[in-house]
Symmetry: C2
DNA sequence: TTGAAAGCGGTACCAC
DNA sequence: GTGGTACCGCTTTCAA
């Protein structure tokens, strides 16, 4: 045993062993063009032998680059987000970036903490799908001010915020749903949305309303609900909706969790779907496909979102080193109606 | 504007503004007992005013502590893992730790990269549910050697590995499933497991076999299958299983994804469940509850796993500073049979 | 109660 | 092609 008492072997240790300078070792490990092939070989060999691993803290500190991207999502268990994360991670991994995934649990307080922690870790960029309750985005100001690439997606700021965005075509999604119900012959249509403070539901609601209007159908005030889209809330709303006639013959729920709840409610209350009630959900959650009857829903193409997200990030990362500030722009990703058995 | 040209404000900037030393600023920000209350106030105020944020890279480099824990899971989209992650994150957040979540996509190659990246980031500890294909765990040796807390859970090494473990009671889970089918009167029982290289299926298989044996039932060689538990694989196996009589009257699938596939196959092939075939899955995936008929399954108590995991980690983190090395030990978390409509 | 200064590990500028 | 060295931002002796 030589000097293995020390836990970490550093670039200096390698230099000492090889009787060369730390600078040379650093350059060799970074494949610097001006280092001789032989030296590189020797250094790499020794590094391996000594179990050397670059200390990212040190190099990040020196370089102002950590090759780490932070991502904040409301819940990793949501199908859409899990998909986006997976693809983003794979894409970034290829580029040599690491991804720090953080969950806000839909708590703005936690989101604030997470943003702060990511900044403290000096991530090179941040991807965010905010909580449903985030209306004040000032906890992200620090990234904007320091010129750290920041891209919002899915749940993006409703009011102007000086950052890049990738958003789904919520309006069109809502429109497609409304149109489909109308064309299926529904005359008395109801709908359940999330809170309109969130861009998602704002868009879906607007599109849905427009579609009904285009088909000369009204969306009556007491047939539209806005609340957090949980299983329980959906059941409560259905109780209300089916407490007095006339019952609706078409229902749009702005997520699939609620649509699943509808199925459950219908089964218990002998409401036939699609016979008595036609149903459309949103997100194309796999559960919507596996349930009986399979639920008609709107696909958000998480893969496409992920690709746009990484593309936008890359552009910002490039511009950053070139010190050019791009005007923030909103990219829109497609949606599509997936027709199944509930309509 | 004073010196706001510089993007980052550091402890030195604060010191200069306040005409005190950086050391004092550092101590004030860390709430050092010997700093006067007044100085602390002034520093904190100035820090806020200047938008100062501690640079974790620098403090981590200096302290050999990053207050960051790394976590490697096969897929965040799996219900069990999503649950564990969420609870682990919440627990660690309370303790002031950040969590880096990494996905191996069940690729050992990627797992190796991720382990290396986490070490490079000098995380204070690592939590791992390995890929199905990891049998060589040497990429984690670095953590063992440097005394960095390492805890495996769920998918743990089958052979001895010198690290702490938290594993589900797979044997008992398998036993409960077998016993339940036997007690339901099944005489011709089939089963689908994952590859036995993985501790999960090894345990579930052993328990299941033992239960059948205890009930004087045989598990025939051509009625047991071992393969990756995907939807497609399950359908293929079912084709085989139902290609010739006698058909099984009881089936255990070692995950819920496969059980869902069974439901789909049964529907298409007019097999009545539970009439013709009784079915048990594993994991208590929410989909198993929402489908019709709701699937009997085995709950793994992800919350309990998460708590044990964090407890084990904390113990190691404590011991580390005390420089005591604990003997690695395997903690076992409970499972429970959730009886529903398929049995 | 506070300050001066060394140093964590790696990189890059300036020499040679 | 290689070496010497200052420095990234923060913490922590040691000294006052």
């Amino acid at each position: 045993m030589k000097s293995n008492d020390k836990l970490e072997s550093t670039i200096v240790d390698i230099a000492r062993e090889l009787r060369i300078s730390p600078a040379t070792v650093s350059r060799a490990l970074n494949d610097h063009p001006k280092i001789s092939h032989r030296t590189k070989e020797r250094v790499r060999e020794k590094a391996l032998e000594m179990g050397y691993r670059r200390n990212k803290l040190a190099s990040g500190l020196r370089n102002n680059r950590t090759y780490t991207i932070g991502m904040i999502v409301p819940r990793i268990s949501m199908f859409f987000h899990a998909e986006v994360i997976t693809i983003v991670q794979n894409l970034l991994h290829r580029q040599g970036y690491n991804l720090i995934i953080c969950q806000s649990n839909d708590s703005r307080e936690l989101e604030v903490d997470l943003a702060s922690a990511l900044y403290s870790s000096r991530v090179d960029g941040v991807l965010v799908a905010s909580t449903l309750y985030t209306t004040d985005y000032s906890h992200f100001d620090v990234f904007v001010q320091k010129g750290i690439p920041l891209v919002f997606y899915d749940r993006v700021p409703v009011d102007f915020y000086p950052a890049q965005m990738v958003k789904g075509d919520e309006y069109r999604g809502g429109y497609l749903a409304g149109e489909h119900l109308a064309e299926a012959g529904c005359k008395n249509i109801a709908a359940i949305f999330g809170l309109l403070g969130c861009c998602l539901y704002k868009g879906r609601y607007a599109g849905f309303k427009a579609a009904l209007k285009a088909h000369k159908l009204a969306l009556k005030k007491d047939q539209v609900f806005f609340h957090e889209l949980t299983h329980e809330n959906a059941l409560a709303t259905l109780d209300k909706l089916f407490s007095s006639k006339p019952y609706p013959d078409g229902l749009f729920t702005a997520n699939d969790t609620s649509a699943l709840a509808v199925l459950e409610f219908a089964r218990e209350n002998k409401i036939r779907i699609p016979g008595d009630l036609k149903l459309i959900g949103y997100s194309n959650d796999p559960r919507a496909a596996s349930v009986t009857p399979a639920i008609t829903t709107v696909d958000q193409f998480p893969g496409e979102v992920a690709r746009q997200l990484v593309a936008a990030l890359n552009k910002l990362l490039d511009n950053r080193s070139k010190k050019i500030m791009e005007k923030p722009e909103a990219l829109v990703t497609p949606v599509a109606l997936i027709k199944r058995m509930t309509t």
